[in-house]
Symmetry: C2
């Protein structure tokens, strides 16, 4: 029985602030509290309820954390000087921009789960360059991540290209179950609408489907040198044949149980990258299992599946918190998952 020698690298503990304490932010704070090499030093929530109380009251834990929920995030950053601020408060680059610049100016690294921040250049190149310059000036790094965008439909796809000699086409899909999610997600995916309402919602922008396809496609394109120039998408209602009911919503047969969103990266009109994301509640009522799938055509190709899906909420908390230990030593600037070392569970 040979002894195994493991080259233990020094892992300095990292101090963290949780920015935003909704469902995702609370989960991230809870996860950070559970990590040996992380110390949660501060937390902020936008709404006044809960400010001034111990974080444990927000999280529903009996054991006090010693972290008092702050009312002014910037003053709290100055006071607690976290290495990394974990932001969970919005989805777009535009919404994130000003707060991130202020956090950078205070000398902190940022991990955000704002979907568009996973590859902000895709749709907001000017704002991205501004964040990049500000971060470089201050010597800090900023990354956007999560389960998707950030992992399943981009980083994992890219990792799989690493065992290919050449590739000609990428298709990845994620069949998930929205049942754990609340009213906001139900609305943005059109769950519970009639097919007509769904169509109207797509047109007026109240039903959005998945946020992240242009970002994931651009990340894959950069990584694999696939010269896509255009993004296209389709969003179709998933009309249920069965009655589906969750804690938050009831959907009768003939109504919409979710949104089948497909994004394409094209070059000269040819679809080179296809990402498929049918998001619905309770797909198994019609015999559909959840799962994550990657098909790469190439030499050799890949045919990867992960069944069931890595659950969206938990997966996003995990990926975001698992990125935190890399931020202190990362090169300064606006980063993507392409810039971090091989992702791994934080200890």
């Amino acid at each position: 029985m040979p002894k195994l020698t493991i080259a233990k690298k020094n892992c300095d503990p990292v101090t963290v602030m949780q920015w935003g304490l909704g469902a995702m932010g609370s989960g991230m704070a809870e996860l950070a509290l559970s990590k040996k090499n992380m110390k949660l030093v501060s937390a902020w929530k936008k709404r006044p309820e809960g400010q001034g109380k111990d974080l444990s009251e927000i999280l529903g834990n009996s054991e006090p954390t010693g972290v008092i929920v702050a009312s002014d995030p910037f003053e709290e950053i100055k006071r607690t000087k976290p290495d990394v601020v974990m932001m969970a408060s919005c989805s777009t680059v535009k919404e994130s921009f000003e707060d991130i610049l202020k956090v950078i100016d205070l000398g902190c690294n940022v991990v955000t789960i704002a979907e568009e921040m996973a590859y902000p250049w895709a749709m907001e190149p000017e704002l991205s360059d501004k964040i990049d310059r500000a971060a470089k000036e201050k010597g800090v790094s900023v990354i956007g991540t999560g389960i998707n965008p950030g992992f399943i439909l981009d980083a994992l796809v890219i990792m799989m290209t690493g065992c290919c000699r050449n590739i000609t086409n990428v298709e990845a899909s994620r069949v998930n179950d929205l049942s754990p999610f609340g009213p906001t997600v139900m609305k943005s995916q059109g769950v519970g609408t009639t097919p007509e309402e769904f169509q109207k919602g797509i047109e007026d922008g109240t039903i959005v489907g998945h946020i992240g396809f242009p970002q994931s496609i651009a990340m894959i394109a950069e990584a694999a040198g696939i010269e896509v120039d255009t993004y296209e998408e389709t969003r179709e209602p998933i009309i249920t044949n069965t009655y589906r009911e969750t804690k938050y919503i009831k959907v009768e047969p003939g109504m919409v149980a979710g949104c089948k969103h497909i994004g394409y990266g094209l070059k000269d009109g040819k679809k080179l990258i296809t990402l498929i994301h049918p998001q619905q509640i309770l797909p198994e009522t019609e015999g559909t299992s959840t799962g994550d799938y990657i098909k790469i055509e190439g030499d050799p190709g890949c045919n990867v599946s992960n069944q069931p899906e890595c659950p969206g909420g938990i997966g996003t908390m995990a990926v975001a918190v698992n990125c935190v230990p890399f931020m202190k030593d990362a090169k300064p600037g606006m980063l993507t998952m392409l810039d971090l070392p091989l992702l791994r569970i934080a200890v």
Copy 2:
């Protein structure tokens, strides 16, 4: 149709020397020649046949490459000053040690497919530290990689822990087909032996099974903070019920078609990491499909498959060459796949 903006990072071309021109080395040279951002500047083979000739004659290509196969590798490194030397000539740290130190001393980065070099500390901590120190002194980096160890049963497993909040157990298996491989591999896996000869081969060390389990297990353990202290393994003959025949070998029913090798990483006697690798010729003759599988128990767990397997020879060439572009900017020292950015196909 929105335009997609891709933040193209500067990719300086990297110059490469191929060290060793056996089946694997030739494939790596060929692949490097096909990459836009790589320039193969030199090549060396150990045996005199082919030295002094254009590399194309070794590769069986009609188009001359302009690279004349060298007879003295160190003089050739001095003459051509490659950024990275791709070594494909042996399997162990001990066999690699002296040559790697000399290449380091000449100021070159190294990518080697010697299996034990994927995590050399596992069994050779002193030699690993010596390589690490020498590389740091010279400001160059050294990595061992390949499909396995290097990718399927370690790096990809580690990547999947990145979407977990916690993990309790890791099991991964790789069911492959040895048919493309020649006599050396047939011998080291015991293909074509009787069950008795197999047992004797294991005892006298002529049948080795897979090389790389202690390395993969130590890499996973370091990455995920799993405190394994001991390595155990079993090696059983895969006795065929069907007649199996490849270009290199014929196996009658009742004879050995391969070696089922299992490696365990234990802590206090408990198996925390299990890697399973049944290697045989033509598994499909008995209804077994090839494939790569990862099961992580945790929150959430993962259940990944890649079917069919990423083929071993091609996969090793791909992973090794795909690591090359990272070496110039990597931090100096003896590295592992844990130290490189997210792997991706080289352009």
